[in-house]
Symmetry: C2
């Protein structure tokens, strides 16, 4: 099944456009999970046990309320082999629960190196995910390698177009002629998006050649939505970084899902009851959509 | 010891500006090393054994002939946990041999995520290296996180300024006003480079706030060298990608080292005698330098 069909199916089944961001910091996990590791012989084994147990619980708790998960590989890499072993475990658990995974890796490299990254995430190895985030700075020949691999393996890719941080203006907003760098990237994505459109009725006009656009730039978000009419948008920056329900609403389209909204800190800090902030976010989206007479018909 | 002092010391001791790029593809390794793994119980254990043994041999063989090594993490990630365990092992072996390591990871992410990556590579974890390559697309606030971490831990960073692939023109060559994106990045680097200058006489005018500039663009290389007078340049693209000794010469400065030239495929494919192409490269550099009356005085 293609990534975009899988994600749309999950989102509609769960009536949710929420993406649960997994950015582990062991010292901030509930005491119960931190203590689980204490019976292990090495500190690395303790980290694997704590992280795996916490995310097994998180995925099980969230499985019927989210559209996808987004583990950020940086937070796993900081724990070395132990963290990456936990990442491997949680990706397998997500597959068992039929929850799509977007590996937030922001990778970009040339030719054979890009292919090695694509092999790492798109074939049946330890870090197999359903989609990956891509940094396009090295040029379209490098993005094309990931696109070709995504087509071959029925995966998705999300190109960084406008990130949520203030410094995103430094390069992404630079204007060359009539277009900013972000708009140039959006045009390339729109031109190629049909290659990753879905096969199911729900997703046939939606593409798994997606884009990352921060919730913290609502004006950009509306313009970039229009510039990439088919692309699934992955929206970070909601909540802790300042984005509101009204800010993210332009990301959705009238006829289909169109976007997934990421929540990381807000969600994970609420354990053992992550469903509360998740319901808040869902209600905020629905209420704002109704106010604007733009109901999210399927969610 | 600061990264730039460590690298300069090694380069001068070995009279070498060569960086050995490690991009493992197991199927292309000498048969002897592939077979080493066959006694292991699992294919993952076999991969760890083969990769660790090959790079232990490579580092030992090259230790007195190179300035540094550059493992590209993508090629290790493609083998999952096994590949990354081998990476951990070879980084430790390089430390034992006192060979500086530049982890080619091309990372870039916002705030706390960039900090997690910096912790992964700059503190005493599994992937501790002496320097790391950085993708600046997310903006200067994200690069600053890596710079601050490099200052705190005496490490180096190499910002992607002009990569060696043809598609590097797509974004990096775009001109905004009077400057290309590459030149804008070079100006930022030059402005901040003093923070990572060395303490030893050999390196006090050289900075470990370095830049990646491809050998495949000799005109850009000369201009970017001038724009970043203190920065150590990491030059990929020599050999297999088409860069020649004359192409890379502008990267060096008259008064100090100034650059390291990466060789990956050319070097590794020459095992069991990697010293032959390495000597060829060194001789080509010296001969070209003499022709141009610009001797590399210390190499």
């Amino acid at each position: 099944m293609k990534f975009i069909d899988y994600l749309s199916q999950t989102a509609l089944k769960n009536k949710s456009a929420l993406c649960a961001g997994f950015d582990p910091v062991i010292a901030t996990l509930p005491r119960y999970f931190q203590d689980l590791g204490s019976s292990q012989q090495t500190s690395a084994d303790a980290q694997v046990k704590t992280l795996t147990a916490f995310y097994a619980f998180a995925i099980e708790t969230l499985a019927t309320s989210i559209a996808c998960i987004k583990p950020n590989i940086a937070f796993f890499e900081q724990y070395g082999i132990a963290g990456l072993t936990a990442l491997k475990n949680l990706l397998a658990i997500a597959r068992e629960h039929r929850i799509p995974s977007i590996l937030d890796a922001k990778r970009g490299d040339i030719g054979s190196t890009a292919k090695a990254y694509a092999d790492a995430y798109f074939t049946s190895g330890d870090f197999q995910a359903d989609a990956v985030t891509i940094n396009p700075f090295l040029g379209f020949d490098t993005v094309q390698v990931f696109l070709d691999a995504a087509i071959a393996h029925n995966k998705g890719i999300f190109i960084l177009v406008k990130t949520s941080n203030p410094g995103s203006a430094d390069l992404q907003d630079l204007r060359v002629g009539t277009h900013t760098i972000s708009e140039t990237l959006a045009a390339w994505i729109a031109e190629h998006s049909s290659h990753l459109c879905g096969s199911t009725p729900e997703a046939k006009h939606l593409s798994g050649l997606g884009a990352v656009v921060g919730a913290t730039h609502p004006t950009h978000l509306a313009a970039l939505r229009a510039a990439m009419p088919q692309s699934l948008l992955l929206i970070p920056g909601y909540g802790a970084q300042g984005g509101t329900a009204a800010d993210v609403l332009p990301a959705f389209t009238a006829s289909h899902l169109g976007a997934v909204i990421n929540a990381s800190r807000g969600l994970m800090n609420a354990f053992p009851n992550p469903l509360a902030p998740l319901e808040e976010l869902r209600e905020a989206l629905r209420a704002t959509a109704n106010t604007l007479s733009k109901p999210l018909i399927k969610l």
